[in-house]
Symmetry: C2
């Protein structure tokens, strides 16, 4: 096992229309023939909740809800893995989460560690560790959107052995697509960022325009594919996972062994 | 104090011609009227040493050598600070170092932590901590070239309070100029990367072409100025140092307080 087909599904969700959003995403996944696919952050609900209460009403259990079930069905059917952002309810808590499902069902949930702006009013702070999971031979780790700004997130996943960072996003600022190239270079990993397109203005004066530009980046910083900023679109590329296991970038430099932990104060 | 003039001096050193290289750099500094100027890595000697012995022969004391003295003179004369890469000899050891001098003389030396490729055969591994120094009201920290690949270097400097990262470089690969934008965004600091131009092939079959593209980046990722890839050139821009002290990027996000140290495994 070395070569797999990785994909992003760039969507345009309609706020609150979970059924439509999920079924639309499933159709796009079904058309792709990917081994690992990534959906955007909060792909099933949309982004701009007016209150924690509203988010709780639309949130689901990560393991047993409609979103999880439907994704697990197609993952089993297509023998693939899917990472997807969703609002997760756990008792009274609501998380901005990403689930990973595979051919045998639910695998893991990651709860966003670094919440952006008003998300802090809506969601509880993530309490799951950055973890790596097997996905058909590839080792994958999840982080969500704004986590990109914190180098420690991708670094932790890479040091734990991630080959591919699965990165559901709802980006509104311009910098992330370029910065993810740095994340891949500094960790020699692949990254699949799945962003959404379209706009939301459920809170007056807070119009959000999502920038699309979903992308797949290689460990050497190459942009393997990148979507536009306007349309929903899905793209898959074959990647050689073993590229992410070569941390030796010159005969004398292994980027992990070269780390000077004795000099870092973090 | 908030606004200062920061500059890079992009040079084309001639290998082994320390006198010429230093005097040429001094002329360029003198023409600039900068408060803080950065010279490239190993600006006084050139880069491609054939052996540790050769490097030792060209290396100098960081505090009392010709390079340090001459830079301190102009720093005193112009009431400015200068960071400059040089080969430093300490007993039997030779470091790829950067010194910081100011109006009152030598301030500090930083010895490159992450050595690239054949540098490991020439230089000893840096043993100085990442530190922050006052430079006329701005807090500055030094790192050298390949240190850029390790997010922990800039992060450590920023967490210690650096406003500006002074980054003497001898870049041959294409990624650093773009990656330094990420370093500035993730830490909300300025960075001045001073690179060289020209080629060296003192070891047969190891022709090095340095990429120039020296640059000054703002905490919000703006490229304030960037040099070309071919010519020696110096550029200065006025920057508002206080921009680097605002770590709050939204009313609810302070990028340092938002760090989830409980979740990082570094």
């Amino acid at each position: 096992m070395a070569r797999i087909k990785a994909a992003f599904i760039q969507t345009r969700p309609v706020f609150g229309e979970t059924g439509k959003n999920v079924e639309d995403a499933l159709k796009r996944i079904d058309a792709l023939d990917a081994d690992v696919a990534v959906l955007p952050e909060l792909f099933s609900t949309g982004y701009q909740f007016r209150s924690k209460k509203e988010a709780a009403a639309l949130a689901e259990d990560a393991r047993m809800g409609y979103v999880s079930d439907r994704l697990a069905e197609i993952a089993a059917d297509r023998k693939m893995h899917i990472a997807a952002g969703m609002a997760e309810r756990v008792g009274r808590k609501v998380y901005n989460s990403s689930i990973l499902v595979g051919p045998r069902g639910f695998i893991a949930v990651y709860r966003k560690a670094h919440l952006f702006w008003d998300e802090k009013k809506i969601f509880d702070k993530g309490d799951t560790p950055f973890e790596v999971h097997d996905a058909g031979g590839a080792r994958v780790g999840m982080m969500i959107c704004f986590d990109w700004l914190f180098p420690e997130a991708a670094r932790t996943l890479a040091l734990k052995g991630a080959d591919i960072i699965l990165h559901p996003s709802n980006l509104v600022l311009p910098h992330c697509p370029q910065a993810m190239i740095t994340r891949c270079l500094e960790n020699r990993v692949f990254a699949v960022t799945a962003n959404r397109v379209g706009t939301e203005e459920r809170i007056q004066g807070r119009r959000l325009r999502f920038i699309g530009q979903s992308q797949i980046i290689a460990p050497d910083g190459r942009i393997l594919c990148r979507a536009g900023s306007v349309r929903a679109e899905a793209k898959a590329v074959e990647i050689d996972v073993s590229e992410a296991r070569k941390k030796k970038i010159t005969p004398l430099n292994d980027i992990f062994r070269d780390r000077r932990r004795d000099m870092y104060e973090l």
